[in-house]
């Protein structure tokens, strides 16, 4: 009987293991010389095999052992579409995200779209986005971003997607979608045209616009909506603006955040999933755990002030790859409402911010650090 022949790959892996073992026997000077010259990133990180090569299981988060009715939802956000012949890149990125989500196996319970589907709120842009999102196999829930709204104040949006504020229950979790990009009127006094208004809001660093808010009417709606649920109901809130105050000059901000948080205070676990910031963001305020969505269109840099302590920054993106720092993702929603949030970066390994990270106030489950921090 022929002895089992080792595959080429196994033998190479064994060779490499032996190589790394022999590396550690070198003195420091030789090691540095070798590693900087001949090895590349893996050896320099000083990681020890087999963990040198990050298995995908770590990246996709812990298994659902004992998780009961945990279910998965996917998200796509911030596509900022222009019409195809103006900007093909953004369209291609959204299609790639839809392709990613459709390839998930098993399919998520639903897909959430985090807002800013259009770039300048044009009907054609919204229609383009709606058409692309129709390809999703799983049911779609969608949210308004400021880029969708301020051209026609939501007229096209309502026609395509219905009311921007709504709630529903799913497997014991209460989901709420807010329109949290309400701005006080800055355009009438200036005599702005709809396009001027839209372009003002579209500029992240444009200081003519007002800060985002949820507004009294919606807060009232929210109070009534939550009234029927006992304190131990897990609540997940979808919001475009972060529902806390991060950095005012870029409208990474919700002006009435405290009032909204007060409405949510009595619940045991509340998770806020938000768009707008185009980056990995994590925060916790009391009982509320905040997670940001990745954009498909482009990444934002981190604000110079106001970053929550719990946030581990994503590595600074490479401008050569317009999809670096972008992507889509999913969240494993546990029965207690807390989530394992997966950031599925394009051309990077996925990063999971597990529920025990925010649950432990950042002591456990710490995600990997960036090697290229923001400037």
């Amino acid at each position: 009987m022929k002895p089992r022949h080792k595959s080429v790959e196994t033998k190479y892996l064994e060779e490499r293991e032996e190589f790394f073992r022999s590396l550690r026997r070198l003195d420091r000077r030789s090691f540095i010389k070798l590693s900087t010259a001949a090895l590349g990133a893996v050896a320099v990180q000083g990681l020890v095999p087999p963990n040198s090569f990050q298995p995908v299981t770590l990246a996709t988060g812990p298994t659902t052992q004992g998780a009961g009715n945990a279910f998965r939802i996917a998200y796509i956000s911030d596509s900022h579409l222009y019409e195809k012949d103006v900007n093909d890149r953004f369209v291609r990125a959204l299609m790639r995200a839809v392709d990613d989500v459709n390839a998930l196996d098993p399919q998520p319970d639903f897909v959430f779209y985090g807002g800013d589907l259009a770039q300048l709120g044009q009907p054609k842009e919204l229609e383009l986005g709606a058409g692309i999102l129709k390809n999703l196999k799983a049911p779609l829930k969608i949210m308004v971003g400021e880029h969708d709204w301020y051209f026609d104040m939501g007229e096209k949006w309502r026609a395509l997607f219905g009311e921007p504020t709504y709630s529903w229950d799913h497997k014991g979790i209460h989901f709420v979608t807010l329109l949290s990009v309400v701005e006080t009127d800055f355009w009438t006094a200036r005599g702005m045209t709809p396009m001027e208004r839209m372009k003002t809001v579209a500029g992240l660093d444009n200081s003519v616009q007002s800060p985002f808010s949820v507004g009294e009417a919606q807060r009232e709606w929210l109070r009534n909506d939550l009234a029927k649920y006992p304190d131990d109901t897990p609540v997940v809130v979808f919001s475009h603006s972060p529902l806390y105050k991060l950095y005012r000059p870029w409208n990474f901000w919700t002006d009435d955040a405290e009032e909204v948080q007060a409405l949510l205070k009595r619940f045991q676990n509340v998770v806020v999933l938000h768009g707008h910031t185009h980056q990995m963001l994590t925060n916790r305020i009391g009982n509320i755990h905040f997670h940001g969505f990745l954009a498909t269109a482009w990444p934002w840099p981190y604000a110079p002030q106001g970053l929550p302590e719990l946030t581990i920054e994503m590595a600074r993106p490479d401008p050569f790859n317009p999809q670096d720092g972008c992507g889509d993702g999913d969240a494993l929603v546990h029965p207690d409402g807390l989530v394992d949030k997966v950031y599925n970066f394009w051309n990077r390994n996925p990063v999971t911010v597990a529920r025990n990270y925010t649950a432990s106030w950042g002591k456990e489950g710490i995600p990997p650090q960036p090697n290229r921090p923001s400037y």
């Binding site: 022949h5 595959s7 080429v8 790959e9 196994t10 033998k11 190479y12 892996l13 060779e15 490499r16 190589f19 070198l26 030789s30 010389k33 070798l34 900087t36 010259a37 001949a38 090895l39 590349g40 893996v42 050896a43 087999p50 090569f53 990050q54 298995p55 995908v56 299981t57 990246a59 996709t60 195809k84 012949d85 093909d88 890149r89 369209v91 291609r92 299609m95 790639r96 839809v98 392709d99 990613d100 390839a103 196996d105 383009l128 058409g131 692309i132 390809n135 490479d318 050569f320 790859n321 317009p322 999809q323 670096d324 972008c326 970066f345 394009w346 051309n347 990077r348 390994n349 996925p350």
Partner: protein, 435 residues
């Protein structure tokens, strides 16, 4: 019987001529052949003597930054004349293969641009591999070896084909050493080079040392960069400008005085593997396998039963971001090392440009830096003209021949061309996602 002899002899001569006449048109009588399509080892050695003058191997070769050069030489394998001599002998030694028909020089043939100019390489018993053989010219500054980067140094890489069942076929290093340890010449050379008996680690080191001397940088382009304004045609100069600007080549193929190779030493999925029908299914199967069972056995089972070689770097690092990614090829002497890409499926540099012009092949793991370039025919021709100026002067005849041959092939057909994608009329993924 006597009447048959002349006829038989005549037929025999014809057959012999046919068998030895190489497809590249070289006259059979000029190039004695070895097995698997390679030129004979002695002939190659003679050619090598002509190509490389005797120099002091302890000094950096002309054209390479001496500080960088030194940093790439592993500790314990500093360059000496004895080590290079030993490495040279080993490189051309067919005894390092199980059936004594294959040496390094079989697939990295001196007379064929130090590669074999075939789509995939042929090993013992005529077995075909899955990967295109990279050239061994100018490999001294590569940070990883093999197209999936699984060998961290040249010394390491040199040992692996010898024990690959479809390449040189020894079951392990010890068997390879046994094949040559009895040779007194080797015993003398190993002692002179490393002060040790014949052993497998030093086989790799010596071959690595020899390969570090294979430096071929004297190209018209280098002369142009050094200030000789008419060293290359205006078309090629325009091609170099496009290379740096509109065509977006330089980011993955940087060429500067510290690193003239034209590779970033990183791994990118540019979509070549996506043209294999089962790539995406394999990629997902691989990811799923890791999700369920991170042990290497599962991956090995998949590797044995399927064509997971197409997953490239992923098989080495198991990083999702490396699915279908292969190391950026170096560009020096690219004109004479067809066919191109990790599987040798692109026959001409025009095919290569067509592939990039349309933004590669869309797949779920495509490097986002691959964009449709909207290059017009004139611009493509200029970039190709530039690429042909990267060949060392010593191979200018071969370079000319390749240029004409590739041009003729490209004139007949451009199978990878897609103007709709290149000029952004249709968008990648549009087939899969309707608007």
């Amino acid at each position: 019987m006597s009447t048959h002899k002349p006829a038989t002899a005549f037929i025999g001569v014809l057959v012999l001529a046919a068998v030895t006449l190489r497809s590249d048109g070289q006259e059979a009588s000029r190039v004695p052949m070895a097995e698997h399509g390679a030129a004979s080892m002695d002939y190659q050695l003679a050619e090598l003597e002509k190509l490389l003058p005797q120099v002091d191997v302890t000094a950096a070769p002309a054209g390479l930054d001496p500080v960088v050069w030194e940093a790439f030489i592993p500790e314990g394998n500093e360059m000496t004349a004895e080590r290079v001599e030993l490495g040279k002998k080993l490189y051309f030694d067919k005894r390092l293969s199980k059936d004594s028909t294959v040496s390094c020089a079989t697939c990295h043939d001196v007379t064929r641009a130090f590669t074999d100019q075939r789509r995939v390489s042929e090993g013992i018993a005529g077995q075909l591999g899955r990967r295109n053989a990279p050239t061994t010219m100018n490999v001294a500054l590569l940070q990883t070896l093999f197209l999936d980067g699984r060998a961290p140094t040249l010394d390491h890489q040199a040992r692996l084909p010898i024990v690959n069942p479809i390449e040189m076929g020894f079951p392990d290093g010890r068997a390879a050493v046994q094949a040559i340890a009895g040779d007194s010449e080797y015993q003398r050379l190993f002692q002179a080079a490393y002060g040790r008996d014949v052993n497998y680690d030093d086989v790799g080191r010596a071959i690595g040392a020899f390969e570090r001397t294979l430096v071929f940088l004297d190209s018209p382009f280098l002369r142009f960069l050094s200030g000789e304004a008419d060293a290359v045609s205006t078309d090629a100069q325009e091609g170099w400008r496009l290379f740096n600007e509109k065509a977006r080549c330089v980011t993955c193929h940087p060429m500067n005085l510290s690193n003239p190779l034209g590779t970033d030493n990183r791994f990118h999925n540019i979509g070549v593997s996506a043209r294999h029908q089962d790539f995406e299914a394999l990629a997902r199967a691989g990811l799923k396998a890791l999700q369920e069972d991170p042990s290497e056995r599962r991956l090995e089972e998949l590797a044995l039963g399927t064509d997971m070689s197409e997953l490239g770097r992923f098989m080495v690092t198991k990083n999702r971001s490396a699915s279908g990614a292969f190391r950026t090829s170096l560009l020096l002497n690219i004109g004479i090392t067809p066919p191109y890409m990790h599987d040798g499926t692109l026959e001409t540099l025009w095919d290569v440009m067509d592939h990039y012009n349309k933004g590669g092949e869309p797949n779920p793991f495509l490097d986002g830096g691959m964009e449709p370039l909207a290059l017009i025919d004139e611009e493509i021709d200029q970039i190709v003209a530039f690429l042909f100026t990267l060949t060392d002067d010593r191979f200018s005849e071969e370079n000319q021949r390749q240029m004409s041959e590739q041009e003729a092939k490209a004139a007949k057909s451009r199978p990878f061309r897609d103007d709709d994608l290149a000029f952004r009329q249709t968008i990648a993924f549009e087939e899969r996602i309707k608007q």
